[in-house]
Symmetry: C2
Subunit: 341 residues, 2 copies
C-alpha cells in the first residue's frame, strides 16, 4: 500500500505534513510518497533525524497557496497537489492526503483522478463523533443543488466508507430532513426517499439534524449546501461552548481550581471530539482515495489521515462503490432512467 | 398591552403555562388572557394562591395534542390554540404565546391571524447565543424550498425583530451560504444576494454556518430547511457536548471534585445558553405576534416568552415589517415584479 502525502499543504506545512507522514511510515505497514519541493522536503526530513526506507520524496516545484482560487491547480500542473493526484491516477499511490487548499484539492482530484464510473459528483464525507461512535455525513460541500440521483450515489459511498473504514457493520443510513408535521422535507427529500429505499442498503428513513450526534444512524445523506452549513455551524457552536465554559471557569478562584482539577476530563473530552483524531475528510467517489485535512492539521492529524487512507486503500472502497452503482444501474428502479446522466 | 397565553400547550401544561403567565403579570405592565379549559385553568390559578387582576381566563374547551397532526387545529376551532389566534386576529391581544404543538400553532396563526400584507410566507426566527449577544436566524422551519423574494422578506422581518425586540441597533444581516472557493453558494443564494443588497438594510453579504455563533452578524437569513437543520444539529451537538463532559467528569474522584467546585461556572454557562432564558421562537410575518415555545417549556420560559411578546407588541414589529415591505414594493428593484406574488 502506497500513499501520496502533500508535503507543502496546510498552515503548518512542511513540518506537520512531513512529521505526520514519517510517523505513519514508522507505525504502519505503508510506503509514503512525500510530494513537494525536493530540497525543502529533504531538509525537513533531515531535521527530524529519521528517514525510514518506506518514505520516498517526489519532486513538485510548485505549490497552490491556501488563499489561491481552487482553479489555480489547473495551471499549476507541477504543484504538489496536482502531482499527488497524478500519482493516484497512475496507480503509483492508492490515495492522496493533503492539508492544503481544499477547493484546489477537490479540483485536482476530480480533474486528474476522475470520478468512479457511475458517480456524477464526488462528495466530501465529514465524520462526526456521536454518543456511541461516529456518524458519516455527506456531502458537506463538494456540490450544491443536488438531485435525488446524487443523494443515492452519496448513500452508496457513505455505506462503504462507514463499513470498510470506520468499521460499522451494516451501517444505518438516514436521509437528512426536517420534522415539523406540516412540511415533511423539501422537494429534494421527497424525490430522494424512494431512490434511497430502493438501494438495498440499510436505509432507515428520514432523520433530523440532531440525529447526527445521537448515534441513531451511521450515515447521513444530504445536499452539500445543507451539509456544509451543518458542519460549519456545529464547529462554530462547539467553539462557542468551549470559549464560554473557559470564561466562566476563570471567573473566580473556586471555579478556577475546579477547572484545574477537572483538566483530565476536559482533555479526554477534547480527544474524543478533536478534529485531528479523525485526521481528514475523504472526497468519496473519485477513482482512488483523496483525503483532505483541515488547514490547521498538525502532525497527528496527518498521521491519522494516512491511516484512514491506508484502510480505504486496503478495502478498495472505490471499487466497491463502482460495483454497487453498476448493480443499481443494471437493476433499474426509480432512478434508472437518469442513473447514467 | 394584552397577551394571550395558551394555558393547555406544552409537556408541562397547564402548570408551567399558568405559572409563567402569572409571573409575567406580576412583574410586567401587561394583561394576560389565559386561554384553556376554564375549570382546569382556574383550578391551577387557585393552587398557586395568586390571582392578579391583570389575568383573565378565556374558555377554550378543546386542546390540540402534542402528537396530533398540525392540521388538527383546522377542525378544533374551540381549541386553546385556535382561540389564542382569534384573540390576536380580533385585536383583543397583541400577541399569543404557546408551548403547544408547534406545527398546529403555525397553522392557527397563518390561518386565523393571517400574514402581514407583503409577506408571502411567515418565518420562524430562532435566537442563538453568540460571543457578544444574540443572533437571529430565520427561517428555521416554517417553510422550505424558498425563493429569493422570500429570503428578502425574511431579511426585513429579522431586521425589525433584532432591532426592536433584541435591541440591536443597525442589525448586520448575513445571507447563509457556504464558503468553498469553487462553489459560491447555491442557486438560491446567488439569486437572493442582489435582492438583499437592494433592501437598504445593513446587509453585510454571505456568511457561513459558524458566523451564527461568532457574533459577526446579528441576523442570518436562510431557507427553512437549512435553518431547521442548523437549529436541530447545533442543539444535538450541544447535548452531546454536555453529556460527554459530564461523563468525563464522573470518571474519577479528582475530576468529580473539580466538577463539583466548578458547578457555578457550569450553571452560568447553562444560563447563558438555556433555551428557557430566551423563551420562545417568534413566527414573524403574521399580522400580530405569535411566540412558539419548546414543548418542554417551564414557567420561566413561558414568562420570558411573554416578555418578548410584550416588547414585540410595544414596538409594533408587524406594522414596521408591513411598512418596509410596502416601501420596497413601491421602490421596484430586482424583485419588484414578483414582490406581490
Amino acid at each position: 500500500m502506497r500513499i501520496a502525502v502533500d508535503a507543502m499543504g496546510g498552515d503548518l506545512a512542511p513540518r506537520a505534513a512531513v512529521q505526520g507522514a514519517l510517523l505513519a511510515a514508522l507505525e504502519e505497514d505503508v510506503s509514503i510518497l512525500l510530494v513537494g519541493d525536493r530540497e525543502i522536503v529533504e531538509d525537513e526530513i533531515e531535521k527530524l533525524g529519521a528517514s525510514p526506507e518506506s518514505v520516498e520524496v517526489v519532486h513538485a516545484p510548485e505549490t497552490v497557496g491556501m488563499d489561491e482560487p481552487a482553479t489555480a491547480v489547473r495551471r499549476k500542473r507541477r504543484s504538489s497537489l496536482a502531482v499527488c493526484a497524478e500519482l493516484v491516477r497512475d496507480g503509483r499511490a492508492a490515495a492522496m492526503v493533503t492539508a492544503g487548499n481544499s477547493g484546489a484539492a477537490m479540483v485536482a482530484a476530480k480533474l486528474l483522478i476522475g470520478a468512479v464510473p457511475g458517480v456524477d459528483r464526488p462528495a466530501l464525507a465529514a465524520v462526526f463523533p456521536n454518543r456511541r461512535g461516529r456518524t458519516v455525513v455527506l456531502d458537506v460541500g463538494a456540490n450544491v443543488d443536488s438531485r435525488a440521483e446524487h443523494l443515492r450515489q452519496f448513500a452508496v459511498m457513505g455505506h462503504y466508507y462507514a463499513r470498510e473504514v470506520i468499521g460499522t457493520s451494516r451501517p444505518r443510513i438516514g436521509l437528512l430532513s426536517i420534522g415539523e408535521e406540516h412540511v415533511k422535507g423539501n422537494d429534494l427529500v421527497r424525490d430522494a426517499h424512494a431512490a434511497l429505499a430502493a438501494t438495498g442498503l440499510n436505509f432507515v428513513g428520514n432523520v433530523e439534524g440532531g440525529d447526527v450526534f445521537s448515534g441513531s444512524v451511521d450515515v447521513v445523506v444530504c445536499d452539500g449546501f445543507v451539509g456544509n452549513v451543518l458542519l460549519k455551524s456545529t464547529e462554530g457552536m462547539a467553539e462557542l461552548v468551549v470559549g464560554m465554559v473557559r470564561e466562566e471557569l476563570l471567573r473566580n478562584s473556586r471555579t478556577r481550581f475546579g477547572g484545574w482539577l477537572a483538566r483530565p476530563a476536559f482533555a479526554n473530552f477534547a480527544r474524543r471530539t478533536d478534529y485531528a483524531e479523525y485526521g481528514a475528510v475523504p472526497l468519496l467517489g473519485v477513482a482512488g482515495g483523496c483525503f483532505i485535512g483541515h488547514g490547521r492539521s498538525n502532525a497527528r492529524a496527518v498521521r491519522n489521515a494516512v491511516r484512514r487512507a491506508v484502510e480505504f486503500g486496503r478495502a478498495d472502497v472505490a471499487a466497491r462503490i463502482r460495483a454497487k452503482l453498476a448493480e443499481l444501474a443494471a437493476a433499474g428502479g426509480p432512478l434508472a432512467a437518469d442513473a447514467g446522466a
